[in-house]
């Protein structure tokens, strides 16, 4: 399992990391009970500050995805239930952000939809 950070993206690195790990847990690629690397290891490998990875882990813990225990590291806890209203709100926010980027870049709607579909169906994520 690989996570990828784009340092030039508008989304902050901690948020990129958070969404990717959450997606890996939701899709079952990271099973419940699986151990994640330490904050220091992941931060070094990604060339990020330890605080950035710590924030991503902290938010995932707060959302119920992860559990951190002293001496045991960070493990996948569960797939937390998301309320329908929250899911819709977050999907709308993400779609709006994507639409804004597409407009800013002056990209044709069909191209934008094809690109989005490609990334939604790409097995590599």
């Amino acid at each position: 399992m690989i996570v990828e950070i784009d340092p030039d993206a508008a989304t902050p690195p901690y948020e990129q990391l958070r969404t990717q790990i959450a997606a890996l847990i939701r899709t079952g690629k990271l099973a419940v009970g699986a151990r994640l690397p330490s904050i220091r290891q992941l931060a070094r490998d990604l060339g990020l500050a330890a605080g950035t990875v710590a924030r991503a882990y902290r938010e995932l813990e707060a959302a119920g995805y992860l559990r951190g225990r002293a001496g045991q590291g960070t493990v996948v806890r569960d797939i937390p239930a998301v309320l329908e209203t929250e899911r819709t709100a977050r999907l709308t926010d993400a779609a709006r952000a994507y639409a804004a980027t597409v407009r800013e870049l002056g990209i044709d709607i069909d191209v934008a939809l094809t690109t989005a579909r490609y990334h939604l169906t790409d097995p590599a994520g």
């Binding site: 399992m1 340092p7 699986a34 994640l36 690397p37 992941l42 490998d45 990604l46 060339g47």
Partner: protein, 271 residues
């Protein structure tokens, strides 16, 4: 040749040979041998990386070993050349690891979510060696103490404590060095460079764990040898202690020449 000249030649021959071997240019055959041993695919990208690694580590290790050997001749009486030579080699091997062998890739940064641990690469001998060495020294010292003439024992306890401290120090160095090497940044790279990185880590771990264990064995052997020289014990004490000392000598040789690490981390299945 006067005894003084003979002593000087004896002192200089080994370090000069070590330096000549350590500083010789890295040949293509040597790179190919390394690649075969550590399961690395030789490509246009990996060849210069491995060549630079072999040149840097060979020089540092040879330099450290030569300085250690010379220091033994200058600072101590004879008999400690091997010990300080191996210690110097170990210091040089660790110093060579400080320079990052592979640069971080440009652009998007990718990393694996697999946990890295030193134990995933070290073999059984490298992990449990320090415990076995201390146990053997403990049994040897106990036999020396319980034998009927223990009241006249001439080996000072300070020597055993000093050797034990050396073993503990070498264990700490081994543990910290292994941790440093395994926890070094490992971004996701092209497949061939990833293999080279794995091979470099395995080779460094192998050298440092082998030299550390050999040093521990030599420290234990120093105390054991002193006890054996002072020994006038009945059988089977004598036999057991001789066997333990011989085993320690063989263990030192095995550590230096035989210890191996895994080119790839042991496969883990997430719990």
């Amino acid at each position: 040749m006067s005894p003084m000249t003979a002593k000087l030649v004896g002192l200089l021959v080994v370090p000069v040979l070590v330096l000549l071997i350590g500083f010789r240019p890295v040949s293509g055959r040597r790179v190919a041998r390394f690649a075969t041993e550590y399961d690395v695919t030789l490509t246009r990208g990996t060849r210069p990386v491995l060549s630079a690694y072999l040149a840097r580590t060979s020089r540092w290790r040879a330099g450290g070993g030569a300085i250690g050997w010379l220091a033994a001749g200058v600072l101590t009486s004879s008999g400690y050349h091997y010990f300080l030579g191996v210690a110097g080699y170990l210091v040089g091997a660790i110093a060579a690891e400080v320079g990052a062998p592979l640069p971080m890739p440009e652009g998007r940064r990718r990393a694996s979510l697999v946990v890295r641990r030193p134990g995933d690469r070290l073999t059984w001998g490298a992990r449990w060696g320090p415990v076995l060495i201390v146990a053997a020294l403990g049994v040897h010292t106990w036999l020396y103490q319980v034998w009927p003439k223990a009241a006249q024992a001439k080996v000072p306890s300070s020597q055993v404590i000093l050797d034990l401290a050396g073993i503990v120090l070498a264990t700490a160095v081994l543990w910290l060095a292994c941790r440093f090497i395994v926890m070094r940044p490992r971004p996701v790279r092209a497949a061939d460079l990833g293999e080279a990185d794995d091979g470099i880590r395995a080779s460094s771990l192998q050298t440092i764990s082998g030299a550390s264990l050999a040093l521990m064995c030599l420290a234990a052997l120093d105390a054991m040898w002193a006890m054996l020289l002072d020994l006038d014990a009945p059988e089977p004490y004598n036999w057991v202690m001789n066997v333990l000392a011989c085993a320690m000598l063989l263990a030192a040789l095995y550590s230096w020449f035989g210890i191996r690490t895994r080119p790839r981390p042991a496969t883990k299945v997430p719990a």
